[in-house]
Symmetry: D2
C-alpha cells in the first residue's frame, strides 16, 4: 500500500518503521532532515511537503506534537488537503484537543476525504514494539479500513465513536490517571508518615476499593512494584511534561464544553509546579516527591 | 467464649448477632435500650456500663461512632479499663483517628491489656452477612488470638502492623477511593459533554491506565455497572456522609503528621459541599451530580 | 478625528457613542445591523467590513468578545490590516489572551502600524458614563497618542508597559479578584455557621489583614454593603460568566507560560460549577450561594 | 489589681511585662522556670500551678499554644477552675478552636465564672509594644470589665459577640488572609512570567478590584513594599507555621460546622507543602517561592 506518513518524531519514526517492515511504500515528511535520511535508507521516499506526500497516496497518516502543527500540516497552503485524492482515507494519530480534530475533519469532508483521529497510548516502547493502543474516532467503514494498517503498529485498536472521540477517550482516561497517581502518592506518603509499612499498605489498597492502575502496576513508592519507574529513580515511563500536556488538553476541552473538572485542574497545577521545580523530565509518578521531605 | 461487646449501632448489632450465632456468651452495652432488649432476647446479657461488661470477659470488642466515644468508653470512670482483667485481649473496631487508638492502647498497656484496632469495610450488608474486611493493627500474638473471632464476623482479616495501623490502612485506602470516585465522575461527565458514548468510555478506561475500582465496579454514571448504586438512583452503598467522615479523618491525621494531602482536602470539601446541598444521604458516587446539569 | 470603531456590543456601542458626542467622525462596523443603524442615526458612518472602516481612518479601535474575533477582524482578508494606512495608531480594547494581542501586534508592526492593547474595567455602566479604566499596553509614544481619545471614554488611563501588558494587568488583577471573592464568601459563610454576627465579622475583616475590595466594597453577604449586588439579589454588577471567562484567560496564559496558578484554577472550576447549576447570569459574588444551605 | 497570668511564651511574656509596668500585681505560671525567674525579677509572683495562680486573683488571663493546653490549664486537677473565686472575670487569649473555648467557658459558668476569649493579632512586636489587637468574645458586662486591662496590652479592642466569637473572628480573618496571600503570589508570579513590570502590576492591582492587604501592605514580591518581609528575605513577620496552624483551625471548625471551605483547604495544603520543603520558618508570604523557579 502507498502510505503518506507525516511527522517522524519519537513516536512517528518507529511507527513508520513498522509500516516499512510490513512491506508498505511510504511517502515521508518531517522538518528533521536527519530522520528523513535515516528512514529513506530503510526504504521510504522523501517528500518536499505534506502536500507532495499526500499526492498519490492511498492512505495518509499524521503524528504531530500539537494542534497548531495539525492545523498547518492539514490546512496549510502546502498541506495534506492540498494534495490528497478524493476518497482516500486519512488518520491523525496526534494527541490534541477534540475541537481541532473536528475542525480539520470537517474541512477534509468538504473535499470528500474521511478523516479519523487515533491518538495512541503505550509510549515510545510501544511504538517500537508495535504494541500501541489506538483510540479511534471514525465512522464504522473508515474504522474497518484503517484497522489492518493500525494493527501493524499496535495491538489494541479501539473504536470510540465518530471522529474526535478518540481524543475524548484519551484525555478522559488520562484525566483519571493523572488524578489517581496523585491520590496514590498522597496515600502512600501519608501512610508512611503514620507508620504503616508501605508494602503492607499497597497490599491493602490493591485488594480493596482504592485499587487502581496507579497503585497496582505503577505504584509511585519506590520498591513496591519492581518494574515501575519509581523503582528505578523515576526514569523512563510517561514523562510528567506529557501528563501536564494531556491534563491541559482535558481542562481546556472542559472549559470549551462548560464542564467543571475540579480535581483535574488541581492535578494539572500540581504537575505544573513539579515542572517549575525542574522535575518535569521525570516519570509522572515522581509527583510523589512533593509529598516527601527533600533529602 | 465470654465476650464483652460494646456499641450496638447499625454495624455493631449485626456483628454481635453473628457472635451469638457462633455460640459465644456476650456481655452487651449500648445507650440504646431497645437494641439491648432485642439482643438480650437472642441470648445476650445486658450490662449497666462498659466497665461491667468488661468484668469477667475473656475478650472485649468495641464498635463506636467516633473518637470521643472511644475515649469515654475505654477511659471513662465506668469505662472498659476500669473493669477489664489484666491480660485479656481487646479490640476496637471503630473507624477513628490513629492517634486516639494509640493513646487508648497506651493507657491499656499500662495495666497489662493488649489492645488492637480493627476498623472494617463492607458496610451494614457485610456486617449482617459476616463478610466484613477487618484491617487489624496488633502485635502478631494478639492478631493470632483475635483472628478466629474476627473470622466469625468477617471474611478478610488483614494484619496491617502494630496497633493504629488498621486505622492508617483504612483512611489511606479511603483517601484514594474518595478521590478516584471524583476523578471518574469528572471524566465520565466530561466525556459525555464531549460526545463520547458513556459505555464506550467506561470500556476504554477499564482496559487502560485509568482503570480503578470506582470505574470498574462502582462507576458513578448510571447504567454502566448494573449492580452499582448509580444504576439504582444512588441508594444503598457507601453514604457520602461516611466518605466525608473518613476524608476528615485522613486530612486531620495528615495535619497532625505534617503531611500535605492536596487532592484529599479538595475531595473532602467537594463531599462537604454535596452534603450542604442536602445530598449527603445518597451513595458517595452521587458526587457526579455536581458535574451534570440539574434536571 | 476620523476614527474606525469596530465591535459595537454591550461595551463597544456606548464607548462609540461617547466618541460621537466628543465630536469625532466614526467609521463603524459590526455584524449587528440594528446597532449599526442606531449609531448611524447618531452620526456614525456604516462600513461594509473592518477593512473598509480602517481605510482613511486616523485611528482604529476594536472592542470584540474573544480572541478568534480579534484574529479575524485584524488579520482576515477583509480585516483592519488590509485597509489601514501605514503609521496610523491602533488599539484593541477587547479582553483576550496576551499572546493573541502580541501576535496581531507583530503582524501590524510588519506593515508599519503600532498597535496597543487596552482592556477595560468598569462594566457597561462605566462604558455609558465614560468612566472606564483602561489598562494600556503600548510604547510610550503610542500611549501618549491614545491618551486623549481614551480619556473621552474613561477616567483612569493606566500605562502598563509594552503591548500585551494591558491584558496581563487585567487578567492578573481579576485572578486576585476571583479568588478573593471566594475567600470572603467562605469566611462570611463559615463565620455565620459558627455564630458570629455577619456585620461584626465584616467589620473585623475590613479593619484587619483580611481586608480586600471583595470584603469592603462588594461583600457577598447580603446587607453588609448596601450598594453591592449581594444586597439586591446578586443582580447587576460583574456577571459570573465574565469572571469565568477572565479566569479561563488567566489559567490558559499561565499554562502557556509554564506557571502554576493553583487557587486560580480551583476558583475557575468553582465558577464553572456555579454556571453549570444555572447561576452564571448572576453577579459573581453569588458564588457564596454554594456555601449556604439552599432555601 | 491582682492578676493571674498563665502562659509566658513569646507572646505571653511581653504581655505580662506590660501589665507589670502598668502597676498590676501578677501571679505567674509557666512550665519554663527561666522565664518565671526573669519575670519574678521584674516584680511578679511565681505560682506552683494554675490553681495556685488563680487563688485570690481578681482577674485570670491565659495565653497558651493550643487547645490541649487550654483544656488542661483550665479544667485539670490543678487548673484555674480549681482555684478561681466565684465571680472573678477570666479571659483566654490563646488562638484555638471556638468549640474548646465554649466548652471551657461552659465549665467555668457552672461555678459562677464568666470567661471571655480574646485571641490577638499583631505578633511578638505588637505584644512588646503593647499594640496588639484583641478580638473579644464576651457578654457586654465582661467586655467592659476587661477593656481597661486589655488596653494596657493592646491598642485595638474589638467586641465580636458572645464567648467564642473572638476565635471565630480571628480564624475567619486569617482564612481570607491566607488565601489572598496566595492569590497575590500567583498573580505577581504570573505577571512577571508574562512580562509586566512587577511594580506596575502591583500598582494596577492596588488601585483596582484586586486590592487587598496582601497586595498593598505585605506584597510577597521582593521590593514592592519596602517594609514587607518579602523585601528582607522573608524574615520576621507572620511565620508560615502560624498561618498553617490558623488555617488548620479554620478547616477543622468548618468540618465541625459542616461548612465547605474549598480554597481554605487548598491554601492549608499549600502552606503544609511549603513546610514540608523546610520553609515553614519563613514569613508566610514566602509561599510565593513555590511559584518561582528555584535559583
Amino acid at each position: 500500500m502507498n502510505i503518506a506518513f507525516i511527522g517522524l518524531g519519537n513516536m512517528g519514526a518507529p511507527m513508520a518503521r513498522n509500516l516499512l517492515k510490513a512491506g508498505h511504500s511510504l511517502n515521508l515528511f518531517d522538518l528533521n532532515k536527519d530522520i528523513l535520511a535515516e528512514l529513506a535508507a530503510q526504504g521510504g521516499h522523501i517528500s518536499a511537503s505534506p502536500r507532495e506526500a499526500a499526492q498519490g497516496a492511498e492512505l495518509v497518516i499524521t503524528m504531530l506534537p500539537a494542534a497548531t502543527h495539525v492545523r498547518s500540516v492539514w490546512l496549510g497552503e502546502d498541506g495534506v488537503l492540498a494534495g490528497i485524492t478524493e476518497g482516500v482515507p486519512a488518520v491523525d494519530c496526534s494527541t490534541i484537543d477534540p475541537q481541532t480534530v473536528r475542525d480539520v475533519a470537517a474541512a477534509a469532508a468538504k473535499q470528500g476525504v474521511h478523516m479519523a483521529d487515533a491518538p495512541v497510548s503505550g509510549g515510545t516502547g510501544g511504538a517500537q514494539a508495535g504494541t500501541l493502543t489506538f483510540m479511534v474516532g471514525a465512522n464504522k467503514a473508515l474504522f474497518d479500513t484503517l484497522h489492518p494498517v493500525l494493527s501493524q503498529m499496535g495491538r489494541n485498536i479501539v473504536h470510540c465513536g465518530e471522529v474526535g472521540t478518540g481524543q475524548v477517550a484519551k484525555i478522559c482516561n488520562n484525566l483519571v490517571l493523572g488524578i489517581s497517581m496523585i491520590a496514590v502518592s498522597e496515600a502512600m506518603a501519608l501512610g508512611a508518615a503514620l507508620g504503616i509499612d508501605s508494602q503492607v499498605l499497597a497490599g491493602v489498597i490493591n485488594s480493596s476499593t482504592g485499587r487502581c492502575w496507579s497503585s497496582e502496576v505503577y505504584n509511585p513508592w519506590p520498591g513496591i512494584v519492581e518494574t515501575a519507574p519509581a523503582s528505578r529513580g523515576y526514569t523512563g515511563g510517561f514523562g510528567a511534561e506529557l501528563m501536564l500536556k494531556d491534563l491541559g488538553l482535558a481542562t481546556e476541552a472542559a472549559r470549551q464544553a462548560h464542564q467543571p473538572v475540579v480535581l483535574g485542574a488541581v492535578a494539572q497545577q500540581l504537575y505544573q509546579a513539579m515542572s517549575l521545580r525542574g522535575e518535569g523530565g521525570k516519570d509522572f509518578s515522581a509527583i510523589i516527591n512533593g509529598y516527601r521531605k527533600p533529602e
